[in-house]
Amino acid sequence: MVMPLRLTGAERASLEGAGGEASAVAMRIVVAASELLGARRLVEISSAHIDGCLHHGDGGVEFAERLVRGGGRVAVPTTLNVGALDLLHPEMVRADAHKTEMARRQMDAYVEMGASPTFTCAPYQVGHEPGLGEQVAWGESNAVAFVNSVLGARTERYGDFLDACCALSGRAPLHGLHLDEHRRATVVIDATAVPRSLSSRDVFYPVLGTWLGLAVGVEVAVIDGLPVGTTRDQLKALGAAAASTGSVALFHVAGVTPEAPSVAAAIGGGAVADVRTIVLTPDQLLPALSRLSTAGDASRIDAVAVGSPHFSLAEFEALVRAIAGRRLTVPFYACTARATHQQLRDNGYDAELSRVGVDVVVDTCVVVTPILPPGGGVLMTNSGKFAHYAPSNTGYDVVYGSLEDCVESAVGGRLVRDERSWSW
């Protein structure tokens, strides 16, 4: 039997038009979603991240512009995900004129409704950082994984219209990961045998994430045995890869992430021995590693792309250090948010990156917008997410390696990869 959705007086008033037409439309859609999901009531959210800037078709533009015409304004601080254009370097994008215009209109509509023009899949890097326990409505799979896992805020996977309607109404369906009981880990990943020499390296995390998504699907896992000093960027990479292969929206890392001071805490009480445990072995990790490369026995590379999710300032610093002033001989794209790009200009890194041949792509990325040279070839990346999406979205074969591997390969024009063992 389906239990009815109960609304507050304010929510009912909004539904009846007290807040204007767009507000009523938004609330109707949130209510419809809540009924479809079986939620008993709505939850008030403190922020939103809208994924709806990608142009799938003109219906999305109609939807956004309809809300603008109806007086739509976001009710909570709201950031925007990547669009289909690099608004600061439009000449870099090779899209057709109609798509370009419609994509721009869609982005403009959300800005007009009061969303902040961040145009990044990593809003948490440009000042949007909800705190532990905060109820939010975020879209974009890596951003959802990050805000839930690394910040301990609470969101479901919002996208396509519902994210915007939550932002306008200030409400979300109270279900799923908004609730304590669904945030507890139901599977333990025993990674205690992984040597520190591997788990302290950035290159490990997209592979771990790729494996995790395939191994657990939508289940909430707690990973035991990673270093206490595991960085935000490493967790970002882990979550992004896991969200790509398995729709993971929340994971815990014992001793590292805020809801998991221990494995016991992550499972929410009860005996750890009663919870399903998967021991991570090289036999499981190696297939995930090889899955990230589709190029077979490539010896040359035609382009490098990094920055999925968008590069942080720390990652740019590592990139500049790795290049060490040398010229790159293949096209090298680093994708990031415009706010981060501004920081690069302020600290002089932008000039240095330009000098050595790095193209900084802003507001978007190379797998959602045609930026890579046409004709395909072999793309190298340090991103699990790029490795997952590049073949179908860009027509390139892909080779996965560390950031240092990507740089050495781009300097020499030939594939260079650290073949240190992934076995133990």
Partner: protein
């Protein structure tokens, strides 16, 4: 957006779903399902009805939004997947305004 199945691994690859009664036994799982459904409705290439064995909220939400934008809508019903097992491809289906789903050619 033609309403054709484009996944080469799908058994109905190349088939158009426009104007059909589409049976979806379990959630498609794509986070783009809402946007895709909206575009199909906008272009008049949506299924005539969708019968879901288990609710795919994302797919259904696309229909809700299409309705809000005034596109020709379609019924989306959650049905017992067991009841649909004997309905072969090509079966003519009646979907009534009261939500009653039946075969047009018999029991």
């Amino acid at each position: 957006m033609r309403g054709e199945i484009v996944d080469p691994r799908h058994p109905e690859y190349g088939r158009s779903i426009a104007g059909t009664v589409l049976l979806v036994p379990s959630a498609v799982g794509s986070s783009s399902s809402s946007a895709i459904m909206l575009e199909l409705m906008r272009e008049g290439r949506a299924p005539a009805a969708i019968l879901m064995g288990r609710a795919d909220a994302i797919l259904a939400l696309g229909v809700v939004v299409g309705r809000e934008l005034g596109y020709a809508s379609l019924p989306v019903l959650e049905v017992d997947p067991v009841a649909l097992r004997d309905w072969d491809d090509g079966t003519i289906v009646d979907v009534g305004v009261d939500g009653l789903v039946s075969r047009a050619d018999g029991p």
